[in-house]
C-alpha cells in the first residue's frame, strides 16, 4: 500500500511532478526500495472521471495557471496566456498525450557534429549516444506496451489513416504505418485494448493508452516506498549551508504551507515550470537560481517545428473516429540538408472535434472562408507535423517582471521566435502535406498554424561541460549533486520524435544512477 512519510524524514527522494518523467522515476526508485515522495500540483482523477468533451476536459485537465508569452510566434498573439497545452493532474501530460513512442535517430544525439554550426542556433551534441540509450529505450517500450515492439501488433488503421496512407503511397513514401504507439493493441498489463473511441487527448477512458496515472504510480505505491501528494504546489527548493538541496516548500491541498525535507530533489514539472522553480529558488548562495552557474536555466526552449494540414474531400472521412494519432510517415525524418534545412520531421495523423477545430484551425479567423471549411468537417482528414527545431539561447523561460501567481511568485514568461531553419522546415512540411492530400483528390487543403506547445523541451539542458548546460548525462545538476532534472527540459536538442518515450527511457536510466549513488553514499 501507499507509504506515508514524515515531513522531517530527510532520507526521502522528493520528486516534483508525476508525469512521464516524475511518475516513471518514482516507480523505478520505489521498486528498488528507495523511499519517494511525489509532489504533484494537480488533482488525482480516475479513468472514470475523464470526459469525452473537448472543452469540458480542457477545463478538467489543462494547466491554465497564469503564464505570459513574448516573441514573434503566433501563439503569443492568439493564445497569449496559454503557451503550452499540457496537463495539471496526477499523471501529468501522460493523461493527454497521443501515445506516439519513437526512438531518437542516432544522428539526433549528435546534432552539432551532424548539422555543423548553424548561425543563431545553440547546438550541442548530447553527452550520451543512442547506443547508451538503447537498453533503456527497450525497457521503456516494454513498460509502455509500445505497438510494433516486443512482438506487439500495430493498431488497426482508421479512416483518417486510410486517407493518409493512400497519399503516402502516391507520393512514394515508404515508411508509413499505424505507428509505434503506447496504446494497447491487445489487452496487456491489466489494461484494455484500444476501442477506437477517439478522445485520446481527453484521457483514455479504457486505460488502453499508457499513462503514469494508472501504471507507474499505483505500481510504485504498491511497494510501500512511494507517497503521492496531489494538489501540492511547490514554491521553492531550499538548500543547506554547503549548497546541497535539503527541502522543498509547498502549499498543500488545504492551502497550508509545508516543508518536506529531502535527501535528493528531482524536478519534473515540465520545461516551463521546472526552470521557473529553479529560478524562483534563488538564494544568497545561488542568486541566479539553483543549478544556474551556466546561465542556461530557462534557455534553449524548444517546442518542435509543428503545424497541421487538413484536407477536404468530396466524400466523408470522419477523421475523429478512432485513435487520434493513428499513423505516421517517417520518410522526412532523415537529415537531408538538400531540402533547405537541417534535421527532419514526421507526419502523424491528427484530428480535432468541432469545438477545438473552431478554436485552432485558423485562430482569430472569421467569415465564409473559415466557416466553409468548418462546414466540410465530416469530409476532412488531418495530419500533424512534428520536426526538430533549433535551440536558441534567446528562446527562453524567464520570470515575469509583472505577473505573479496567487502565492506571490512570478509566473513564467515563454519567449519564442522561429529560427530560419524552423521556418524552412515548416514550409517544406506544409508543401508535402498539401501534396499528399492533393494526390488523393483533396478539393481544398488547409495549412494550419502551430497549436499551443505540447512538446516543451530543453530549458535545463544536458551538456558535457558545466559551462554549456544545466545537467550532466544523468540529469544531475552540474552545480548541486543531489539535485536532478527528470523531464523533457533535460533535452540537449529536440530530435524529430515525440519526446515521451525518451523522457521515460531517461527516467529509467536516471533511477539506476540515483539508486547506485545512494548505495555508494555518494549522495
Amino acid at each position: 500500500m501507499a507509504a506515508k512519510f514524515d515531513l522531517n524524514d530527510d532520507n526521502v527522494v522528493v520528486i516534483i511532478g508525476s508525469g512521464a518523467g516524475g511518475g516513471t522515476l518514482g516507480n523505478e526508485l520505489a521498486q528498488k526500495g528507495v523511499n519517494v515522495v511525489i509532489l504533484e500540483a494537480g488533482k488525482r482523477y480516475t479513468i472514470e472521471d475523464f470526459i469525452n468533451d473537448e472543452w469540458a476536459s480542457f477545463a478538467q485537465l489543462a494547466w491554465t495557471d497564469a503564464r505570459t508569452t513574448s516573441g514573434t510566434w503566433r501563439v503569443a498573439k492568439n493564445f497569449p496566456n496559454l503557451p503550452a497545452w499540457i496537463v495539471k493532474a496526477v499523471g501529468g501530460t501522460t493523461t493527454h498525450w497521443a501515445g506516439a513512442s519513437l526512438r531518437f535517430q542516432p544522428h539526433e544525439f549528435k546534432a552539432l557534429t551532424t548539422y555543423g554550426k548553424v548561425e543563431g542556433a545553440n547546438l550541442h551534441d548530447w553527452p550520451l549516444t543512442l547506443e547508451e540509450m538503447e537498453p533503456f529505450y527497450a525497457r521503456a517500450e516494454d513498460k509502455m506496451g509500445v505497438t510494433r515492439t516486443n512482438g506487439l501488433p500495430g493498431l488497426p488503421g482508421n479512416n483518417n489513416f486510410k486517407v493518409f496512407k493512400a497519399g503516402a503511397d502516391k507520393l512514394g513514401y515508404k515508411e508509413c504505418n499505424t505507428g509505434h504507439m503506447a496504446i494497447n493493441s491487445v489487452p496487456r498489463d491489466n489494461r484494455n485494448s484500444c476501442q477506437q473511441t477517439g478522445f485520446c487527448f481527453q484521457g483514455c477512458k479504457w486505460g488502453a493508452k499508457w499513462s503514469t496515472l494508472y501504471t507507474e504510480i499505483p505500481k510504485g505505491e504498491t511497494t510501500g516506498h512511494m507517497e503521492v501528494r496531489p494538489e501540492s504546489r511547490v514554491l521553492r527548493v531550499e538548500h543547506d549551508d554547503s549548497g546541497k538541496v535539503n527541502a522543498v516548500v509547498y502549499v498543500d491541498k488545504d492551502g497550508a504551507r509545508q516543508r518536506q525535507k529531502a535527501r535528493i530533489v528531482c524536478v519534473a514539472g515540465n520545461s516551463i515550470e521546472s526552470p521557473r522553480l529553479l529560478l524562483n529558488s534563488a538564494s544568497s548562495k545561488y542568486p541566479d537560481g539553483l543549478g544556474n552557474s551556466s546561465g542556461q536555466v530557462g534557455r534553449n526552449y524548444m517546442r518542435h517545428v509543428t503545424g497541421s494540414v487538413y484536407g477536404v474531400f468530396e466524400k466523408p472521412v470522419h477523421m475523429y473516429r478512432g485513435t487520434t494519432m493513428a499513423g505516421i510517415i517517417r520518410d522526412e525524418a532523415r537529415n537531408d540538408p538538400g531540402r533547405g534545412f537541417v534535421g527532419g520531421y514526421e507526419f502523424e495523423t491528427l484530428s480535432l472535434g468541432i469545438p477545438f477545430m473552431a478554436a485552432f484551425l485558423d485562430p482569430g479567423a472569421w467569415g465564409r472562408s473559415f466557416t466553409s471549411a468548418m462546414d466540410d468537417y465530416p469530409n476532412m482528414a488531418g495530419m500533424w507535423i512534428v520536426g526538430e527545431d533549433m535551440p536558441q539561447e534567446s528562446n527562453r523561460v524567464t520570470l515575469s517582471p509583472t505577473v505573479k501567481d496567487k502565492f506571490g511568485l512570478p509566473v513564467a514568461d515563454v519567449h519564442f521566435d522561429d529560427h530560419p531553419n524552423d521556418v524552412a522546415m515548416r514550409s517544406h512540411a506544409y508543401g508535402q502535406g498539401q501534396k499528399l492530400y492533393d494526390a488523393v483528390g483533396a478539393v481544398r487543403t488547409l495549412p494550419t498554424p502551430p497549436y499551443p506547445s505540447t512538446h516543451n523541451l530543453g530549458t535545463n539542458r544536458m551538456s558535457e561541460k558545466a559551462s554549456d548546460g544545466v545537467v550532466n548525462k544523468w540529469g544531475q545538476s552540474h552545480d548541486i549533486r543531489n539535485l536532478f532534472v527528470s523531464d523533457g527540459s533535460q533535452f540537449t536538442t529536440g530530435g524529430a520524435e515525440n519526446p515521451t518515450l525518451t523522457i521515460v527511457a531517461l527516467a529509467i536510466r536516471q533511477a539506476e544512477y540515483i539508486a547506485a549513488q545512494m548505495n555508494a553514499r555518494a549522495i
Binding site: E54, Q195, K205, R321, G322, I354, A358, W366, G367, M374
Partner: protein, 182 residues
C-alpha cells in the same frame, strides 16, 4: 432564457432542431422585440429574455454573430444561444455593458439609416464588420463566439460530428474504418 421557458415562445424549439434558415433578409423582420423587452422569433418559435442589454442591441449582436461565423444550415436560435454570454456579461459588469452598447451604436452609425440589422446583404454588413474588426468589442464578440457557438452539442450533428463515444463502446464496431471510396 431560450425556448419553451420563454413567456412568448409558442412551441418547444426541440422539434425545429434542424430548421434551416428561411431566407437571408428574414432576420430583421423575423426577430421582433416584445412589449416585455424580450426577443421573439415567430418563424423559429423561440424567445429570449434580455437582462443586461437593450433588446435591439442584443438583436444586432445575434445577427453580427451570424455574419462573423455564417453557417447557412444553422437556424438563428443557435446564434441567439451563442450570443447569450454577451447579455450575461453586460448584466454582470457595467463596463461590459458600456462596451457592447457603444460598440453596437457605433456599428449602427456606420451602417447609416436602418442600422446594421437593416442592411440587407451579408456582404455589406461584413464590410462594416471589417471596419470595426480592430475594436475591442469585435474581438470580445468573436473570441466568445468561437466557443459559445461551436461548443453547442446540439449543432454538432449538423456538422457531422458525433461527440461523446465512450458510452457507445467507441467506434471499433461503429465505423472507425468504414471509408470505402479510396
Amino acid at each position: 432564457m431560450l425556448g419553451h421557458h420563454g413567456a412568448h415562445a409558442p412551441h418547444s424549439p426541440g422539434r425545429r432542431l434542424f430548421l434551416r434558415r428561411s431566407s437571408e433578409i428574414a432576420f430583421a423582420a423575423a426577430v421582433a422585440v416584445s412589449s416585455g423587452g424580450a426577443l421573439i422569433s415567430a418563424t423559429e418559435a423561440w424567445g429570449l429574455e434580455v437582462k443586461g442589454l437593450q433588446p435591439e442591441t442584443m438583436k444586432t449582436l445575434i445577427l453580427m454573430s451570424r455574419d462573423i461565423y455564417p453557417h447557412d444550415r444553422l437556424a438563428d436560435r443557435y446564434y441567439a444561444i451563442a450570443a447569450k454570454p454577451f447579455d450575461e456579461k453586460a448584466a454582470a459588469d457595467p463596463a461590459q455593458k458600456d462596451m457592447f452598447e457603444k460598440g453596437v451604436a457605433a456599428l449602427n452609425a456606420l451602417a447609416g439609416p436602418g442600422g446594421y440589422v437593416g442592411t440587407g446583404w451579408e456582404a455589406d454588413r461584413v464590410a462594416l464588420l471589417h471596419k470595426i474588426s480592430d475594436q475591442p468589442m469585435f474581438e470580445a464578440v468573436r473570441s466568445t463566439l468561437v466557443v459559445s457557438l461551436y461548443n453547442q452539442q446540439e449543432i454538432w450533428p449538423i456538422f457531422g460530428y458525433e461527440g461523446e463515444s465512450f458510452s457507445k463502446g467507441g467506434y471499433i464496431h461503429r465505423g472507425f474504418d468504414d471509408l470505402d471510396w479510396l
